[in-house]
């Protein structure tokens, strides 16, 4: 058959005569050059459409370049064409696992500019729902991190236990993932009948779930071997990259915006501990989130006890016009520092909104962090940084 083909120029033997490409390699020295591995955009470890171009030398990563923007929706541009109440709907979709927590800083910025203050009960409900979003996000992480190192069971536990929280959020707001419950000056509705008792019960489930994860995942020998001293972020470098939230606290930086920023919501009235871990590795990030889940559940119970009665909406004009000015509001979201720089020119919509999302900066350290690690550790590090694609791409 090869005789029927005309010979190819530049080849002693016609390569088409070989049945397999592997045959052609026999006796030839193997090429040990770099190999490019494309991780994603549809890899399960990337939680969406993050693409990671990894250059490998054997099993070792010599360069990693995250390619983002597959889901860029241009919210900063869209926000200039929407009114303030409409923008709440958009920013729900930034970090879709904790959508309620996204709304709070933007609404807070608008309220500051309008000189409106939400009544205390509304502030309490906002804080409770923010902490519930944090628990929902972290419980999923606690399970999913096990999945990324090869343990399948914790992932099911994570989804199962998150369901308790999502049910609560749905009962209060009407939406499981995109509540759109905040209004400038307060909330859309008060809590439904019986919600407080249900929440108390659910918090017990969360404490139990945390114990399970502590035994099953954090106490697991294989898990420790896969995460201890893997992907260490030095505190100074992490801060210079803008890494925030639990990722930075896992490097020993005692900085939590709930306690240290300009007071917002009802956090000054609460008694809570900020957890840090000195190691800065993947295990530390898991451990800090585990403790923060428990701390959030404790905070929710505290707030349920302290919750005042009263109205849930302040008096606001029917047509929301925000006076001229600038406001920056930052909050401690489950994934890290989330902030909105709102510039208003006195219209019904903002002139410019700069959205500072946590995952964007958390992921920007990856080229530095992944250099020199082994391929399986890439997955562990990605999982332990815990990013949401909507939060990177905005």
């Amino acid at each position: 058959m090869s005789t029927t083909n005309p010979p190819l120029p530049g080849f002693d033997v016609d390569p088409r005569a070989f049945r397999h490409l592997a045959d052609a390699q026999v006796g030839v020295e193997l090429d040990t050059g770099d190999m490019i591995l494309n991780l994603g955009p549809q890899h399960p470890a990337t939680h969406g459409t993050l693409r990671l171009v990894v250059r490998l030398d054997g099993e070792r990563v010599i360069a990693a370049d995250p390619v983002i923007g597959y889901m860029h929706r241009g919210y900063e541009k869209l926000a200039e064409f929407r009114t303030y109440p409409q923008i709440t709907t958009l920013i729900n979709r930034i970090d879709w696992l904790s959508s309620f927590a996204n709304e709070v800083p933007f609404i807070d910025a608008a309220e500051q500019l309008m000189d409106v203050k939400a009544p205390p009960r509304a502030q309490y409900i906002r804080t409770i729902l923010t902490e519930l979003s944090r628990i929902a996000t972290f419980v999923l992480f606690l399970g999913e991190m096990g999945l990324q190192v090869g343990a399948l069971t914790p992932a099911f536990y994570g989804f199962r236990d998150r369901e308790h929280i999502l049910n609560l959020i749905e009962a209060a707001t009407g939406g499981r993932f995109h509540p759109n419950f905040n209004r400038i000056g307060g909330l859309k509705d008060d809590l439904p009948w019986g919600w407080i008792n249900e929440t108390r019960t659910a918090m017990k489930t969360i404490f139990d779930a945390c114990d399970v994860f502590e035994d099953l995942v954090a106490g697991n020998e294989i898990f420790e071997a896969r995460t201890r001293s893997i992907g260490i972020i030095p505190p100074e470098l992490g801060a210079a990259y803008g890494v925030s939230g639990s990722n930075l606290r896992a490097s020993g930086v005692d900085w939590d915006l709930r306690r240290d920023a300009k007071p917002y919501l009802v956090y000054p009235e609460l008694d809570f501990k900020v957890w840090t871990h000195p190691d800065g590795d993947s295990f530390a990030r898991y451990w800090v989130r585990l403790q923060e889940t428990r701390e959030s559940a404790r905070m929710v119970l505290q707030m349920l006890d302290q919750m005042p009665a009263g109205p849930i909406m302040a008096k606001v004009p029917r047509i929301i016009k925000v006076p001229e000015g600038e406001a920056w509001v930052e909050t401690e979201n489950p994934l890290g520092q989330m902030g909105y720089y709102v510039i208003s020119k006195g219209a019904t919509g903002p002139f410019r909104v700069k959205i500072r999302s946590a995952s964007f900066s958390n992921v920007s350290i990856l080229p530095w962090l992944l250099r020199g690690v082994f391929v399986p550790d890439v997955i562990t590090i990605l999982a332990s940084l815990y990013f949401i694609l909507g939060d990177i791409d905005r």
Binding site: E80, F81, Q112, A239, W328, T348
Partner: protein
Amino acid sequence: MSDLTGTDTPEATAAAEPTESVAPDPHALDAAHADLVARFEHELGDAVLDRAAVFGMPVLRIRRIDWRAAAEVAKRALECDFLSFVAGIDWMPAPKEGGDDAASDTSAPVQPTETTYGAAGSEGRFQVFARVQSTSRHWGLTLKADVDEESLLVQSWVPVFPGADWHERECWEMYGFVFDGHPALRHLYLPSEFEGHPLRKDYPLLSRVVKPWPGLVDVEPMPGEGDDADAPATEAEV
């Protein structure tokens, strides 16, 4: 003149004087931040062109050639080790789509047509602004610098804060600012063959160009307005 107690209104400055016990100025800086601004100005001297306070947050406008020096001072002398973001602003009012007969597009809020500049002012259309914070001292600064409309050159912060890399790439593709000293200005969000700078005000919202907003056809009257729809809705109505 510089103004530490209010945004840019003379009334705010006057109200800060302890004449009567009116409501406290929401913009006033606390002692730590006032001290921070003083130290920053001491370090940089003339490079601080203007300053303002926005809800307790200092905003300083830096001379263009001292943009990187400002980052260095903030990081080394003032312990602002955390980079929150670097972004751009285009102060030009957005031109009306399709000339002045743009009444058909009722979807977008109407912005004022005259150009005004925000806290700490601006010399021209473009500004770059950034926020640095301290993880140990818990204070923060917002820095602004004017960008020349012709050259669009800005000093890069990457040598000081490695995290500025992605922020500046985003700013470059969205506004066209050229960051001098940046290792590789490549597209971050947009496809590499993308043309234009989407966050500039003269760049239209493409979805409205592809399919124009239908206008007022579907709008129902607000409840209670009913028949007297001619009466304009007053915003004082609560």
